[in-house]
């Protein structure tokens, strides 16, 4: 998920021919004053904090100003403030538009129909979730044909615009599809698309690009606004790492198993906090890297849950022991290891003083006890249950 701030979204709209009002991004009041005095953006103008979360207007992070002094004061009041956990670093100055009507357009992926979904409403400017179903046109598009004329005509009919604006709409719809497809967007949304006089103008833009398609956009400057600094760091290293607020770190292999492990801890009364998926790796260096990442998050206790299928338990165990030598964590560890070379893995961990289980429930209860200060670090190492029949695959 690569979320773009409004001005970057508008840059993309502009590149694809969607009419956007003139705008200039500034980083402080001084810069704002220079822009406004030069007449590059005339007053009255709209001052908009560039943040990723919605609802900034109601919170005072969008202001209509009539004089240069008012605009500069508004910029001064926004820069450095926090909105929904995000610090305002950039502010967009943009010309004021005399809005006749506000419309809504977007294309996103519909997971249920497994098609791109065009949504259009003659009543925009509000959150899409708040619109009644009959006010929202939903058109699933075919991925192999893209948006075709009859679908565009359905939107044009629903919007009932004057002729010049209807022509604009036709072009904007083509642009919207082109952006969705060519820029590899997860979402491209114009809300509101404003009727100004008898023409259309995109007054806001929300664009989310697909992370996995970034290989096609090598020149693109990424920003993952929704990630915490640690998540960002892990992301850059290719580690699946998510912070969810509790104080137990979970290190497992495979996203499903990691999620299930968090769930088991949660259902045993614990507060899982870190999701760290090792993936299918059996490379000790990768395990070391993942473990150092976990150490940075500084959880109260760490639970390692490994199912060795493709990954071998003894390789993971050796990697962990190696990582521990480097990281010297100040928190206790509990491991649960099952599958391929399970016995060898448990032996390696025990030799390094880590309590190891093969039973998930037992291990989870020990972890929760440690979290709540009810157990000592040494921990009981229960005898491992017999490994599944066979051994190595």
């Amino acid at each position: 998920m690569v979320l773009l701030r409004e001005y970057r979204g508008k840059e993309i709209l502009r590149k694809f021919g969607v009419p956007v009002p003139p705008g200039k991004v500034v980083r402080d009041a001084k810069e704002a004053e220079a822009v406004l005095r030069s007449g590059e953006i005339p007053v009255p103008c709209v001052v908009k904090a560039q943040v990723l979360a919605g609802g900034r207007g109601k919170a005072g992070f969008v202001k209509l100003t009539n004089t240069v002094e008012e605009a500069v004061a508004a910029v001064h009041g926004m820069v450095g403030k926090e909105f929904k956990g995000e610090k305002v670093r950039e502010v967009l100055l943009t010309t004021k538009a005399d809005i006749g009507r506000e419309l809504y357009l977007s294309i996103t992926l519909d997971r249920s129909s497994r098609k791109p979904l065009l949504m259009a409403s003659p009543e925009g400017g509000v959150e899409i979730e708040s619109l009644p179903a009959e006010k929202l046109l939903r058109l699933p598009l075919h991925p192999l044909t893209g948006l075709v004329s009859y679908e565009k005509r359905a939107v044009t009919r629903a919007f009932a615009l004057p002729p010049a604006a209807a022509k604009d709409l036709d072009r904007i719809l083509d642009s919207l599809w082109a952006i969705f497809e060519k820029e590899d967007a997860e979402l491209v949304e114009i809300n509101p698309l404003a009727l100004v006089g008898d023409r259309l103008l995109a007054l806001d833009a929300k664009v989310i690009l697909e992370d996995d398609a970034m290989f096609r956009h090598a020149d693109f400057q990424k920003e993952h606004g929704e990630l915490s600094p640690l998540e960002q760091k892990a992301h850059d290293k290719g580690i699946a790492f998510v912070e969810i607020g509790g104080d137990i770190g979970v290190l497992a292999n495979g996203a499903g198993l990691t999620m299930a492990t968090l769930d088991v801890l949660y259902q045993e009364g614990g507060r899982p906090g870190i999701f760290l998926d090792l993936g299918g790796t059996d490379d000790p260096k990768k395990v070391v890297e993942a473990f150092l990442m976990m150490t940075e998050a500084n959880p109260k206790v760490v639970f390692i849950n490994i199912f060795g299928g493709v990954t071998r338990c003894d390789t993971v165990a050796s990697g962990l022991v190696e990582a521990l030598k480097q990281a010297k964590p100040g928190f206790p560890l509990v491991a649960r290891i099952r599958g391929n070379n399970e016995k060898e893995g448990i032996q390696i961990l025990r030799a390094a003083g880590i309590g190891s289980y093969s039973d998930l429930a037992e291990a989870a209860r020990h972890v929760v006890a440690l979290e709540q200060g009810r157990a000592s670090k040494g921990g009981a190492a229960s005898p491992p249950a017999p490994a599944i029949a066979g051994g190595a695959s």
């Binding site: 997971r111 398609a213 290989f215 495979g254 199912f307 299928g309 599958g339």
Partner: protein
């Protein structure tokens, strides 16, 4: 006797000379799969694990007549690899590759449909019929032949589940890993329909997770017309909204795709939903007793 793959399945491996391709070719052969050929452009005429390598899928098809392909090629090239397989007449593609853009996946899905080709995956562990064939990367050691169908959006969690079933004495008819992406080539409903028609499958274990509505759609199908017992497990009960939990598809988005919604829908459809993964074998035993098969 199973769904999708069996002893007659002839497997092609695209990307066979890579690390994963080579390792899992060995794994598939050890399982008993007939791996008849591999493709890596520029490596034609060589051999990997005793399997002949070709420069193109067309050449491999002409020489070895595969019925399924297992795709390991990197994400930027996955789409074209799939098109090549479909154009050469292959009707089942198992895409192991992770990080395939969903834009590519949408095109593959509908291109495949035009030619009657099914996709399992992407970002999936593949599928296996114990005693028949494996196409993918699920560890061989977890399986045992039997009559429980398994379908899942996860990888390792599935291995755990299957290993748990095997240990408790419940073998599997076929085990299908659908993949962790937002768009899957084959869905829960598609797979359940196949299990419904398979006389060798007595019941099904389905492993879902947060994100999307595939489990809710499966629940609707099960409630209406499945007719065999289903035991379910949903991962992500403790996941907060808006966070992508490792899988690209595992995200609660604008209130949709919660574990609660999925668990409720499945329970309403008569599915026994396990709270903990290790409860699954017990629920399978109960279900089989109810239909007089245990």
């Amino acid at each position: 006797m199973s769904i999708l793959v069996d002893a007659s399945t002839r497997v092609l491996v695209q990307g066979i000379t890579g690390h994963q391709g080579t390792n899992h070719t060995r794994g598939m052969k050890a399982f008993g799969s007939k791996v008849v050929g591999g493709v890596t452009p520029g490596k034609g005429g060589t051999e990997v694990e005793g399997v002949p390598v070709f420069d193109s899928v067309r050449e491999a098809v002409d020489a070895t007549h595969p019925t399924a392909t297992c795709i390991f090629v990197p994400a930027p090239y996955t789409r074209d690899a799939f098109y090549e397989a479909v154009d050469a007449g292959i009707k089942l593609a198992v895409i192991i590759t992770e990080h395939v853009p969903f834009h590519d996946m949408l095109k593959m899905l509908y291109y495949g449909r035009l030619h009657g080709a099914r996709i399992i995956g992407p970002n999936c562990p593949g599928l296996a019929t114990p005693g028949g064939a494996k196409v993918g990367i699920i560890p061989n050691v977890v399986f045992r032949e039997g009559r429980v169908g398994v379908v899942s959006r996860s990888g390792t969690l599935t291995y755990e589940m299957v290993a748990g079933l095997t240990e408790a004495g419940f073998g599997q008819s076929t085990c299908v890993g659908l993949g962790g992406d937002p768009v899957n080539g084959t869905t829960f409903v598609d797979t359940l329909e196949l299990f419904h028609d398979d006389p060798r499958t007595d019941m099904v274990v389905m492993v879902g997770e947060i994100g999307g509505v595939a489990e809710e759609e499966a629940a609707e199908y099960i409630g209406k017309s499945f007719g065999k017992p289903v035991v379910g497990y949903i991962a992500g009960r403790s996941a907060p909204p808006g966070k992508r939990m490792g899988h690209a598809g595992a995200i609660i988005d604008r209130g949709r795709g919660t574990a609660e919604s999925k668990v409720n829908a499945l329970q309403k459809a008569g599915v026994k939903v396990a709270k903990f993964p290790y409860e699954v074998p017990g629920l399978v035993r109960d279900s089989l007793k109810e239909i007089g098969k245990a």
